[in-house]
Structures are given as structure tokens and as C-alpha cells.
Symmetry: C2
Amino acid sequence: MMRTRPLKVALLGCGVVGSEVARIMTTHAGDLAARIGAPVELAGVAVRRPDKVREGIDPALVTTDATALVKRGDLDIVVEVIGGIEPARTLITTALEHGASVVSANKALLAQDGAALHAAAEKHGRDLYYEAAVAGAIPLIRPLRESLAGDKVNRVLGIVNGTTNFILDKMDTTGAGYQEALDEATALGYAEADPTADVEGFDAAAKAAILAGIAFHTRVRLDDVHREGMTEVTAGDFASAREMGCTIKLLAICERAEDGASVTARVHPAMIPLSHPLASVRGAYNAVFVESDAAGQLMFYGPGAGGAPTASAVLGDLVAVGRNRLSGATGPGESAYAALPVSPMGEVVTRYHISLDVADKPGVLAQVATVFAEHGVSIDTVRQQGKDGEASLVVVTHRASDAALGGTVEALRKLDTVRGVASIMRVEGE
Amino acid sequence: MMRTRPLKVALLGCGVVGSEVARIMTTHAGDLAARIGAPVELAGVAVRRPDKVREGIDPALVTTDATALVKRGDLDIVVEVIGGIEPARTLITTALEHGASVVSANKALLAQDGAALHAAAEKHGRDLYYEAAVAGAIPLIRPLRESLAGDKVNRVLGIVNGTTNFILDKMDTTGAGYQEALDEATALGYAEADPTADVEGFDAAAKAAILAGIAFHTRVRLDDVHREGMTEVTAGDFASAREMGCTIKLLAICERAEDGASVTARVHPAMIPLSHPLASVRGAYNAVFVESDAAGQLMFYGPGAGGAPTASAVLGDLVAVGRNRLSGATGPGESAYAALPVSPMGEVVTRYHISLDVADKPGVLAQVATVFAEHGVSIDTVRQQGKDGEASLVVVTHRASDAALGGTVEALRKLDTVRGVASIMRVEGE
Ligand SMILES: NC(=O)c1ccc[n+]([C@@H]2O[C@H](COP(=O)([O-])OP(=O)(O)OC[C@H]3O[C@@H](n4cnc5c(N)ncnc54)[C@H](OP(=O)(O)O)[C@@H]3O)[C@@H](O)[C@H]2O)c1
Ligand SMILES: NC(=O)c1ccc[n+]([C@@H]2O[C@H](COP(=O)([O-])OP(=O)(O)OC[C@H]3O[C@@H](n4cnc5c(N)ncnc54)[C@H](OP(=O)(O)O)[C@@H]3O)[C@@H](O)[C@H]2O)c1
């Protein structure tokens, strides 16, 4: 049964994502109405530059006064696709206070202030949905929050940033160095002029915080996520990875400790075996592995960014929120009842690949091995390569804590037979 | 806020899936309660053999009178994991009439009578959820119905039967014939004693009907799905596939016609390029590709069957339906507003790989090529191999309709230089 009074939707931001949301709302109006049960009306569009020509958008709807728009009081749904912390945070809060449900694509804000925003939504009996905030078009938040609601998720492991995956894929397939691959990503529009948020892992860390929070029913903030960027990955690292039958990916990893009593979340480059499905995720694509008690291993794959894919996720949320408006219900909100402690990086347990430059003389291997043993880090394999009085040792460890590995490396640096630690890389997905 | 009065759940069937549902309901009772907002109580378990020992299940709850159980009137949710058409259909309908929402894993029933069951659910204001009916643990129905609700799905292409994928994977990797691979699947418990439903494609066809219905907002019944099994796939077909850089999978394919005005659904073995992500789906795993206007290509991967994985999907639905019970709302029901016609197989357009045994004499290729041309089927490549007066021709076509290809093959069989049509295989995923 179709209601004739339309749902009023305000769009905050009309850039890469917002313009696609507006376009699809117009071109697919009939489908959206049928799926929601009421037509959807674009009631206003807030932007920074009012005079910019925006194809398909009635100029009368455009305003620079986003605050007045969200205070109108007659809005059913506010779609926030401005990005950043402010004014997005205040606008979302104000929209909820004035009775609108909110759909957002804002990972930075959700990772930083998700709890407060969820509380505001709950207080006002409204929805706050943000499928588009993690991995663009890939359904991930809804499957984790709803499909796996009867299961126990133990691990989320994924490639959640397309820019860095593009760069690493380039380095892997062409042998290019980091800077060269970044330049190509920039030229092709895969990297922004200032790529910091991507290459330093801030974007992936925000997504890891959101995923960990939902997967473990625990509040995980951006600050809880250990973060290492990928600017120091070298062509040499890829060569080492290949020798081990691996490649290198920037991974977001959210894990429940083996005893189940705590969780961790981290973002860093890591080696993964070429046989792992994540190894073959090419270009700017994203993919996320989810491991749970009953379901086992699931993988979700697709375009992690881009205007249209991200708009697809926004509109999926818009339909769900719209349906909830009509039925007077709200969907699942924050679920943080488990309230597990988030452990520091030192407690994370994984394997390591370490390259050392050492003096090429007898006894060095014994010295190095002793240091590993003293720190309780057990060695899986060692490869020794010597040339002209210089030598390198490549050590792959069994599983050890980050703290134990850190202590080992510190002690190795103090050995006078160790000239330097050329690289340390975690090994995941085995 | 936790409600203290529990939601009463009846379990119809306690076999492979049901026993896992019961186990998780007990072991994860606290988590389920927190996620739903009320505790869940197992109120009754209907089975065929009441005296079978069922670990962890209070014998006082067990009954053989499923009808009396669903008529009790105090049930909030009925979980149907008996399977088959009757008594499952009558029990589900009766449960809905008596005020319970229903969660089912029953693909055969949903594919045959989904519309009537949805109508019953809607009439009584209750939910009917069945994520577990398609591809076990893999979230697929919820993403299609909800995450992609703002998008336009054009194609669903997937491996949705683990038994047949196990058999085909064995044939591919070991060179085994169909019977040998089936025997191994049976020995390992991947195939049932009577494997007909799997190897003849009935199981996959039921899933295709369900997926097509949801993806295209159109009623698609089992009878609308063109179905070919995989019992005639030979080691020779795999050899031909390998020569083309392909492998063979049993695929479920749901497509919107290019003009958007009709849809098709089919299940059959097909060659797909080794570079396609579906080509590397091993063993009994399932994976489904979804292509839509805005999101582009998404893939969902995971265990498509098994007690625990299927129970994970059932319990995800249980949480969603439980939440709806508490809020007094219902989730999305059937969406068939688009009501697109389902075209017959003759209108499906794809590429074909055809092997012909022909006489080894001049002019045969010209004759054969003429037949293709007369039927409007354009040839991409031909490979000719001759030995001892016998020869074979391998023809790969450009895209053509199934009807045109059928006419071509019929005419080829009438040529006296064509000794036989050794195999015809569709080529997909390019
Ligand atoms: N782009 C993607 O692929 C992608 C993927 C996933 C998630 N997201 C998220 O989606 C959000 C939007 O991203 P985007 O790429 O669409 O950004 P964008 O292209 O930079 O667009 C931002 C929009 O916000 C408007 N805006 C900026 N400040 C404003 C203010 N103070 N008041 C009102 N409007 C203001 C801008 O107005 P003008 O048009 O006048 O400049 C512009 O229309 C971000 O949270 C981002 O993280 C993006
Ligand atoms: N197994 C999988 O991996 C899987 C995956 C996806 C979906 N599914 C679907 O899940 C459903 C159940 O499959 P399953 O493998 O669990 O089947 P199953 O092991 O054969 O279990 C069937 C259960 O139903 C009971 N039952 C049979 N007839 C009954 C009747 N007339 N009244 C009451 N109870 C009756 C049986 O009782 P007894 O225990 O006394 O024999 C048994 O407990 C099917 O629809 C199937 O298609 C299964």
C-alpha cells in the first residue's frame, strides 16, 4: 500500500557522493517509492558553494545554511555526505533533535563520536545508519549487525582502503617504488592531492574502529586502533614477500583474543600468502573476511569507494530508514553490551618477517638466535645470505606478541654484529 | 533495556540444522538476549522420532505433534527446519495464523510457494524470514533485499550448491570422471545417498528462483527457472575448458534483459574464465556475484551449507524477527511490484563452446560455418583437429540467443559430414 504524502529528505553535501545520491533519487524515484511504501521528496540540499552548477538539482532547493535546513522540523530523513567532524557532527545531532532520522557516509565522525551520535538517535527515537562509511558499496555493516547477530564473530580482516590497495597492487605487479606508484594513483584520481588520510592508515583505522565496535558489541574508538601507514613499504619488501609466497596488503584487523576476554583493532601493512583470497584483490577494490564461530569464514568483496557505489549504500540505508519511518519503528542501534576491554598493540599475537643486515662472520646466527630465544620469540625459519663481508639474515617467527617482538628487535639493535634492522613486517592470513 | 518475559521459540525439526540452532540458542543465550532485548526460550521441539537422544535438549520439550505445537497460540517465533513441501507448508501457515513469526531454511518450499507464504505473513502482520534458504551462512537475501534496496540489480551469478561444486572441483583438479568424483563426495558426506536434488540442479534452481524474485522485485517460481544438471559433464569438457583458459562450474544465473523489460533465471553447467573470481571457489564453498547499476560488482563468499553455518543464518533471522516482535513492527516482506515477465530460455543470450565430430575431408568447415551463419550465430573462433579420417571442430560463438543456438545445432546434426555433437557448453562470466 502506497502512502501519498512523501518522505522529505534533506541532503547535506552534494559532492562526489551527494550528487550521485541526488541523481539516483531522481532517476529511480518510482522504484524507491515502491520499495519504501511512500514517495521520497528532495526537500533541500546544503552545500558550500551555492553558485556551482549542479546538474539535475533544482537551484531553489540549494542552500548554504545547513543549520536552518536541519532545523526545519518537517524532515523525515537527513543524508549527511559532507564529511569531516564539524559541521557534520552538529548538523547530525541537530537533525536528530528535530525529529529526522539520519543516514551518513562519514567514517571519520562515526569512528570518533559514534557512541554520542547513537545516544542522540536513541534519545530521540530515530535511526542513525551508515553502511556507506565502511567499504563503500559492500554490504558489511548490515551483515555484521544483523545477519551475524546470532553468531559470535572472532575476526574481521580486510582491505578497506582502495587508494592504498591500488598503490600496493601497482608496486607488486610492476616493481615500482612507493613514490612512483603514489604518483600514478594521484594522476589517475585514485589518490587525493593530500593522500595522508589514506597512506598513513587514518581512513582504514576509522573503518576498523567501526567494524570492531559492531563485530564485538563493544565501543571501539579511533584512538583504540593501532595504526601504521604504508609509506615505508619498499620494492625490497615485495621481493621478500614473493620469496615467501606472499604479497603485501594494508590490512584492517579486528580480533577477539583467544580467551574471548578482550579485543584488538589495528591497521598496518602485512604479508599475506598468495593463496589467501585477499591477496588477489586488485586495484582500488576492497574485500573483507569475517570469521565467526558458526558461520566460519565469509568474504565480502566489491568497490570500496566512488560516487555511485557509495551512493548505492546510502540509498539502501535510505530505504530502510524510510520504511522504519512509515512503520514508526527504529532499526538496530548501537550494541555495546559486551563492553570488552580493547587491549593495546603489545598484546597482539602474530608472526613476523624480519630482515637484518649483519656482519658476515661465524657465530652471528647463534647470537641472533639467542636474542630471539631470550625474549620468548620462537623462530620458524632463518635464511642467511652473504656477500663481501656483509650479510643479511631473514627470520620468520612463530606467533609471538607484539611486545615480545619489540623487545627482541630492541635487543638485536644493540648487538654490534647487527648493522641494522632492514624491515619488520607482520605475516597474516595463514 | 531488557524485557524479562522471554520470547517463546518453537523448533520444527531437529536434524543437521535444527540441532545446531538449539545448541547455539542454549550456549549463546546471554548474547541473544542482549541483542534482541529479551531472553529467548525454547518452548518446544517437533521431530519425527521422539525417542532419539538429542544432546542438550530437554526431552519434555520434544513432541511429534508439530501441528499442536504451532497451534499453541503463545509462540512468538517458529523456526521451520524440517524441509520439503509438506508438512512444512501447512505448519508455517498455521504458525502465522496463530500469531507467530516464522524463520525458515526451506528453499524448496520458498521457491514453490513463496508468494502464498508471504501473503499469509502479511495478512497476519508477522515476519517470514529465510536467509538460510540460499547459500547457507552467506548473507545474501538481506543484502539483496535491504542493502541494495536503493540500487538496480541487473545480474546475480553464483555457485549456490556445495555438493556439485565439490564434484566439479574434484573433476577439475584430479582429472576424475563424474561418477568417480560423485563417489568421493558421497564417501566424504558432501553428497547425499540420493544426490538427485543437487546434481540435477533442483536445489540450485530453487535458490535461483528465490534470488531472482528478490533481486528483480518480481515473482519467480521454481517452474520459471531453466534447469540443466551436471551429470553429463565429462573429463573431456574440462580439458576443452582448460584449452580456453576456463573451468566449469554449475551456475545459477538471474538476469535482467538488456532492455530491462524482462528477466530470466537458469541453472546449468558453464565454462567461466580462470581469471573470474568464481573460478577459484573451491570444494563445497559457495559464492555469489551481484551486479547492479550503482554498486557495480559485489561478491559474497562462504560456506553454503552445513549445520553450524546454516544455523548462523537462522539465528541472525531469529534476532531480527525477535527485535521486530518487541517493537511491534515487521521487516520487509515480499517485494514483487515490478512484476516483470520471466522470459523463456530461448531468449537467453550468451556465448557457446561446441565440439563436433566431423568427417576429415575438405569443405566441412565451410559447411559448418554456413549453418551457423544461416541461423544468425556469429563464430568467434574455430579450432580444427584431424586424425585418421576423423576430425573434430571446436567452435566458440559470439553472443547468441539460446533459440538460435538450438536451431543451429539441430541443423548441424542433419549434415552428413557431422558425425555427432560431442558437447555444447555455455561460456559465462566474461
Ligand atoms: N568519495 C567517496 O568515494 C566516498 C566513499 C565512502 C565514503 N565517503 C564519505 O562520504 C562523505 C562525502 O564525501 P565526498 O567524496 O562526496 O566529498 P566531497 O566531494 O568533497 O563533497 C562534500 C560536499 O559537502 C559540501 N560541504 C562542505 N562543507 C560544507 C558545509 N560546511 N556546509 C554544507 N555543505 C558543505 C560540499 O559543498 P560544495 O559542493 O559547494 O563544495 C560538497 O558538496 C565523506 O564523509 C566521505 O568520507 C566518500
Ligand atoms: N543441512 C544443510 O546444510 C542445509 C543448508 C541450508 C538449508 N538447509 C535446509 O534446512 C532444512 C533442514 O535440513 P536438515 O539438513 O537439518 O534436515 P534433517 O537433518 O533431515 O532434519 C530434518 C528434521 O526434521 C524432522 N522431521 C522430519 N519430518 C518431520 C515431521 N513430519 N514432523 C516433525 N519433524 C519432522 C526430523 O526429525 P528426526 O530428527 O526425528 O528425524 C529432523 O529432526 C531443509 O529445508 C534444508 O533444505 C539445510
